[in-house]
Structures are given as C-alpha cells and as structure tokens.
Amino acid sequence: MLKTANLSYKFDDKYIFSNLSFAFEDHSIFKLVGNNGTGKSTLLKILSGIYKNYEGDLSFSEDDFVFYSGHKTGLKSNLTARENIYFDIRLPKISDLQINSVLEQLDLIDYSDIQSVYLSEGQKRKINIASFMLSTANLYLLDEPFNNLDRKTTIFLQEIFDKKINEGAKIIFSSHDRSKDAFPIIDMNLFN
C-alpha cells in the first residue's frame, strides 16, 4: 500500500499543494486532475522519489516497485524505437520477441528500426506505452500518458490499465481531461 499523510510541497515559499492525505491499495487506479500549476506532475515526482524535499509523510510497501513516466519521454533521439525499449532502465531483461509483440499491438512495428528523432510525438509516446506494457512494476506513476495519442491508442491504453489493475498493480496518472470516464479522481485544486 502507498500512503501519504499531510503531504505538502513548497516552492519559493509558496505551497504548490498542502495536506494531501490518501492511501492507494493494490488493484487501484487514480486520475490526478487540476488546473495548471496545482502540482499534478510535482506529486508524481515526489511519489517516484525524484523530489525529496517535501513535507509530511510518505510510505510504501516493501514490495512496491515503481515505474515512472514523465512529461518528457526520456527517449534517445539517435536510438531506434526498438533500442529505446531494449535499453530502458525501467525494464527487466526482455527479448526481441516481447518487443516485437508490443510494437505490433501499438502499430509501431514498421517504425521499430527508425531512430526516434524521426518519429512523431504520438509515436514517441507510444514507445513509452510499450515500456509500460513490458514493465513488471506494481506501482505506475504516469504523467499525462494520454497526451498526443489518437483515439484508437487511447482506448488501447485504457485496456492496458484494466489489465495491469487486474494483475494487482496501482496506477496513478495525471490528466487535464475531466471527462466522465471510469477512473476515480483526485482533484489537486482542492489542495492548493
């Protein structure tokens, strides 16, 4: 279980958010929504261990293994889609067969040996989704994963979310989209 108690984050003497308390059980998913600057990305960075200078308490289960995907894709421009997945620091040892399988599902197989500098933003985001699919983590922290995705991939990613949750994972992701989908919401506007 992931728990926060009175979690606050200050930047230049101004609180981005304060007194955030929640608990994430296994098999759960939460969508962080809120206006720009309300701390959605900051919260994900705190939970992933990138930002350390927060106030309040944060506790993980010993078996929590984190997969973080930020606003920036982390892809190397002169590596191909396949190489970017193969060398992804977040992934365990994976075979070419596994990479081919996810690239096929994401309609990226024809672009797998093209350097990522030549790919569109949507295709770069898809490479991150491929890593997400191949990850064996159980806590996923995803910063706006639906950005730049077409309708088909958006639906596909939602299906992957369901699959991961059924396998016992916890997913927290940020989004600007407040549409009435099935995901429970944490509204960061309430913690400013």
Partner: protein, 219 residues
Amino acid sequence: MFYFIKILKKEFLIYSRKSSSFISPVVFFLISISLYPIGISNDPGILKNLAPGLIWITVLLSTLISFQNIFSEDYEDGSIELLLASGQNLSLIVLIKIFVNWIFSCLPIIILSVLSVFLLYFPQEGLKPLIISLLIGTPTICLFGALAGALSLGKNSITGPALMLPLSLPVLILGTQAINYSLNGINFSSNILLLTAILVFLLPIILFASVGALKLHFN
C-alpha cells in the same frame, strides 16, 4: 549488474552514433596543433621547448567541447528523471557515463598526440611520459568536466568551463612537468604517481558531488 551493463551498452551506442562527440574534439586538437608552428614559430628549438605545454593545454581545451554533453541531453530529454526514479546506484551510472565520454572524447586525442612528433618537433623520447601522463591525467579532467557539467545544467555555456579550468590546473602542471622532467633526464615517476593519487582520491568524491549536483536540479 544487469542494469549497469545495459547502461554501458546504451552509452556506447549513443556515442558511436553521435559522431560530433568524438570528431569535434579531434578536429579542434588537430587544427590547434597544426596552427602552432604557423602562429608561434617554425623554429624546431622553440617548438620543441613549448610542445609539452602546448599539447596539454590543447588536450584540456579539446575536452571542454565534449564534457557539457555528459548530462545536458539526459537533462533535456528527461532521462535523468528516469534514472533518479529507477532507484539504481547513481554514482555507478555517472561513472559509466564519464568512462564512455573519456573513451570517445579523450582517447582519440591521446592517440593523435603522437602526431606532435611531426608537427611540433616533439622528441620521440618524450612520447612515453606524454602518453602516460595523458592516460592518467585526462580521466581526472573528465571527472572535473562531469562535475562542472552537472552543476551548470540549464545554465549558460560559460559556467561549465569557468568551473572546470581552474580545477584542472594541478593536472595540467603535473602532466607538463612530467614530460619536461623526462626530456631533461630527470625521473618523472613522482609526477605520474601524484597524477594517479589525484585520480584515485578524487574519483569517489567527484562521483558523489556530481550525483548531489544532479539531484540539486530536482529539488
């Protein structure tokens, strides 16, 4: 161990595809070494005396071209965030990045420094101390470069060199002195030992400091 081998292979692949990372320092070195006989003097006696210092200064300036890239691309494309979130040993990752940077930006220059025999009338008997001092001294310069690169992420391009050059002065002095000692028939081993001691002593300190500097940008 699996993750570190993975990072090592990845860094090698990235550098091998980024020709500017090793061509730019080499071209800068070759142009500078070729210009000294034109700009200073074509008198073999003068060039021979100045050669140890000229070679070391040129090597130092050549490395300036590449060290800013050690972390800047990772910072811009978000890779550093992923490394910080990965929970892996960051010091070891930084060491791998510095090692690969040294292989691609310093090793070719060290090999090409042999050309100074022809271009600067550098005595052949001085090649051994030249190569040894460069092999031991340039990793320390790369360490300083990594620290300066980590501290100056996102800042203007003059900050890194301004931090790195003063730190590199002892290495420059010891390296040049070792070659001059050798050319004058004096035992230069104490200089090489001092260069080695500096490298061994600074390696863990600078790795620790570089990791701290990288984390500083995220807090």
